[in-house]
Each structure stands twice: as structure tokens, then as C-alpha cells.
Subunit: 203 residues, 2 copies
């Protein structure tokens, strides 16, 4: 395989995808060239198109092709609530519940001091600016910030740092998604840390 | 994420890669757009370039950018030996041993009746044509076909079908890579099937 230059370049390029090692990249290149050249060209076009057209919403920071994303533009949304999530996938999970009608702020990452990801890398200042001023002149201001970062060490750190930074803002209520026992699960099979948290956060 | 059309198309295109489900595709799209747009464009160019320039060697069927691949052109190769492998990766593994100096035929697949992959799909006729005539007029003919398909059910079936088809050719010797105990391993930790085969194939 080493002698075919453009095949080698394809394997190298595929390795830049997260979670793809040299064996997987070789398997992918082989599959595309042997069985799915249409798929290869479709992927090339999708990469070029997305790279050229996908940018960040100027209000909530999520991926969008407009200056302001459809969610931030939606007049039926409660503009006094701002739910802070790590990624567009987390935002999509919140949306699927149908239980939230406010706006979002998508961090596009999480604080991870060990990996050198600090407040600047995930645009925390942009979040604080967003909370400090209404989305547009004359619009209602943010009254509640719901921290919906993941319940991992890094997500908890991120939520903690945001909560600390907003401590002085008496006009803004900062809340966190409740930790607890997953709906439909039997206590016997739930891990102990989750049960302990559910006990502490009992209503 | 559903509202961004070109992002959705990118996720769909990434799902055509083998072993990539919807979660992985979303993670890949997020990574490329958030952290590695250079990588996305590099991958797009590599896909386009490989799709346009990579074809099959007219002699051994492996991927190449020329009519005949560098291995088949190499005058130092023993042109009377032909090693049959499933994929270019298998060919590369044989080459890395440094123990083989003949030519190759790359099936670009294996017989897999359950998946509907028959003799035509992996170009067996092309292999038989290759064995029937020398690579070029005046060149030595193939005297030995070494079956180096994988030691899986499908690889064994493929080897068996090729061996059966060449049974009438008394001028061509058909051999198979030896099954046996991997070099450097202790019998205690080798699986029983391998030991049994090593016993049958003992020299
Ligand atoms: Zn937005
Ligand atoms: Zn060749």
C-alpha cells in the first residue's frame, strides 16, 4: 500500500478523525475506493460545504449557517431562560425532551485544566456577555441560567466555575439539572454514587 | 443540530464510513468543525484525489495510480511465484516479512456466500487469466500459486475454491501458508485449534 501516494495521503487524512487509528483508516480507505467511490465523493463535498458554510450563532454560539440560529430567532421561546450545555448534541438531547422552552448557550467544549482547556477556549466570556445584556435592544433580560453541562468531573468543574462567576448577579438565578435515579430504573441496579446524590438532592 | 442542513449532510456522509454510527459521525463532524477545519479540507482533497487517481493494477489487481503497479514492474521479483492475498493490507503484511520475493495477486475481497459475495465479485476469473498467461510476452510463466488468504472461514473457503479450480493445471503447484503456533508464543496460552492444526501440519 505504501507505494500508492494518493492512497497513503487518504489514510493519513482519515487518521485526523477522532477515534480513527491507522488500521481503521486503512479499512475506511479500502472500503471507499473498492466499494463506495460515490460515498467518497459525497463525503468530500459535504466536508467542503460544511467547512465553508457552518459558523457559530452570534447569540448562543452553536453551529449555524446564519448569523443567528433558528432557535435563538424563534419568537415562541422564553427569552428569560438560558440553558448552558457543552455541545450541539447535548442541546439536541435537551430539545428531544420537549420539556424546555427557553434559549440555549452552547459552550462548544468544557473546562479541562489537565488538557489545557481553559475559560478562553470554551468562550466563557461570550457567555457572561450574553447574560449581561439582552439578545436585542428592548428584549427581556436573562433571569435564569440553567447549568446543563454533563455530570462528569469536567462538566461539574465547568458548571462550578460558571456558578462562581455569576455569584454577584443577584438579578440572575443560577440552577443546575438535578442529579438522581434515572426514570424507569430499579434501585438495586443503580450505582451507589447516583443513589447517594439522589438522597442529598431529595425534594 | 437538525436545523443546520450542511452539518446534517456531513453527519450522513460520515456514516458511510465502515464502523461509523450516528454518534461517532456526530462526534467527528463536531471535532472537524470546531477544532480541525484544516483537517476537514485536507480529507476532502484526499478523497477527491484518491477517487480520481487510484485504479487497479492490470496484472495483480491491487490499488495503483499506474496501469501496472511498482511491484509488478520490479525486475528483481521472481515472476514464477504468485502469492494470492485478500487485500492490499495483507499484501503489505507479506512484504514486511521480507521473506517473499515473488509477485502478488490481490483479490480485493473474499468469497462470502452468506453476504452474497461470489467468485465474480472478487475477480477470480482475472486471477485464472493471470495464471494462464505470462505477465508479458516472453516472460516466465507462473509455476507456483501460494494461497495466502486469511485463516478465517471465508478465507479458507476462498483458498479452497481457488485450489479446486487449479486442480487440472499440472504445470502449476498450488500451496497454502502453513498453519501453526505463532513464533514466540508459549503452548500453554495458544488456543487448542491452533495447536491441533500445528500438529497435523507438523514437518
Ligand atoms: Zn443561537
Ligand atoms: Zn500489480
Amino acid at each position: 500500500m505504501a507505494e500508492t501516494h494518493s492512497l497513503e495521503l487518504l489514510v493519513q487524512a482519515l487518521r485526523r478523525l477522532p477515534g480513527v487509528g491507522v488500521k481503521s483508516a486503512q479499512r475506511m480507505a479500502f472500503h471507499l475506493l473498492q466499494h463506495d467511490r460515490d460515498g467518497a465523493l459525497q463525503l468530500a463535498r459535504a466536508l467542503e460545504h460544511a467547512t465553508a458554510s457552518v459558523k457559530h450563532c452570534s447569540l448562543c454560539h452553536t453551529f449555524t449557517e446564519d448569523d443567528v440560529c433558528p432557535t435563538c430567532k424563534d419568537p415562541r421561546r422564553d427569552r428569560t431562560q438560558l440553558c448552558v450545555v457543552e455541545t450541539p448534541a447535548d442541546q439536541a438531547a435537551m430539545e428531544r425532551t420537549g420539556a424546555y422552552k427557553g434559549l440555549f448557550f452552547v459552550l462548544m467544549g468544557k473546562l479541562s485544566p489537565l488538557d489545557g482547556v481553559g475559560p478562553r477556549d470554551i468562550g466563557l466570556q461570550k457567555l457572561f456577555d450574553r447574560i449581561a445584556a439582552p439578545a436585542a435592544p428592548g428584549e427581556p433580560e436573562v433571569r435564569e441560567v440553567i447549568l446543563a453541562t454533563n455530570f462528569t468531573a469536567e462538566g461539574e468543574t465547568t458548571a462550578h466555575v460558571i456558578a462562581q462567576a455569576l455569584k454577584g448577579r443577584t438579578d440572575v438565578q443560577v440552577t443546575r439539572l438535578a442529579r438522581g435515579v434515572p426514570v424507569g430504573s430499579e434501585l438495586e441496579y443503580v450505582d451507589l454514587g447516583t443513589i447517594a446524590h439522589a438522597l442529598v438532592d431529595r425534594r
